[in-house]
Amino acid sequence: MNSNLKNMIVLGCRLILGIMFIYASLDKIAHPEEFAKQIGYYKALPFGLENTVAIILPWSELIIGLCFLVGIFVDGATLLSIIMMIVFILMISQAMLRGIDITCGCFKVSAEGEKLGLNTILRDIIFLAMSFVVLNRQERKFEFLPKYD
């Protein structure tokens, strides 16, 4: 594969991941209480930590999304994206295995949100794969900080 094509693929993954993370963060930032409840329904966090996560996670998503799009700290954003996707996949899987019938809370935190399902897990696996594509890139096109030259 020539390097131009590879760069385009990496850039495409960055764009998709960037837009996805920013889109996913907005509804959560707008409705922290609903998002905290949504995390609580997964019944996976002790000590009421769902509120702590609901305060911080949406901002991480927004910042990671901006990093992907703008080309700043792409390595750090990619690592965080990989960790998040693995955690999301584990959280969704444990809820499904225990038969917890809830909405995902992935993009929308309202009652109209999508139900958890195999397609939710599959989607996160695709995002995980895209993150690995970005992580393993050979060239750093359209990246501005930090400077490597």
Binding site: I29, P32, E33, A36, K37, Q38, G40, Y41, Y42, K43, F47, G48, L49, E50, N51, T52, A54, I55, I56, L57, P58, W59, S60, I63, I64, C67, F73, D75, G76, A77, T78, L79, L80, A95, R98, G99, I100, D101, I102, T103, A111, L145, P146, Y148
Partner: protein
């Protein structure tokens, strides 16, 4: 220093923490740092507002009064067995329509799922609360506690 990916990651986490905590503390709809458990009802006849939790004894009392029970579990679990006369939650809009056709939004409704380790009943209760239902009770012991003591099922 920021050429090291792990340092970048740490910086991004730190920025998220700072922005998250500051915005949460200044916004009017900010939340507490740790979530509180859903409150347990002291008197089941005096419930209004946010959903409350009820015990097995309280659930049985409401069951004997003929209060509507809604099963928030997945369809297949409901089909396998449920509390006698309980409704399947099904589609949310349909459920609301069905409730509205039988009673007012100030009348009691009990929601349950498998046990206190499943969040579906709480989710359904809060979804109904957001639609204006305000006498919602979550039977946290759910299916497992109910069947454990041999109360009526079908």
């Amino acid at each position: 220093m920021f050429r090291v990916p792990l340092n970048q990651m740490a910086a991004l986490i730190l920025v998220s923490l700072v922005v998250g905590i500051i915005t949460n503390s200044i916004r009017s709809d900010g939340i507490s740092f740790f979530a509180k458990e859903i409150e347990v009802a002291e008197d089941i006849n005096d419930v209004s507002g946010e959903p409350v939790a009820i015990t097995l004894t309280q659930a049985k009392e409401l069951f004997d009064q003929g209060v509507i029970f809604i099963d928030a579990r997945d369809d297949e679990y409901f089909a396998d067995g449920h509390i006698k006369n309980a409704w399947n939650s099904g589609f949310f809009m349909e459920l609301m329509f069905r409730l509205d056709s039988l009673q007012s939004r100030n009348d009691p409704v009990v929601v349950y799922c498998s046990d206190d380790e499943c969040g579906s009943s709480e989710e359904l209760a809060y979804d109904l609360f957001n639609e204006g239902f305000n006498k919602l009770m979550v039977f946290q012991g759910g299916w497992i506690e109910w069947t454990g003591i041999g109360y009526p099922i079908e």
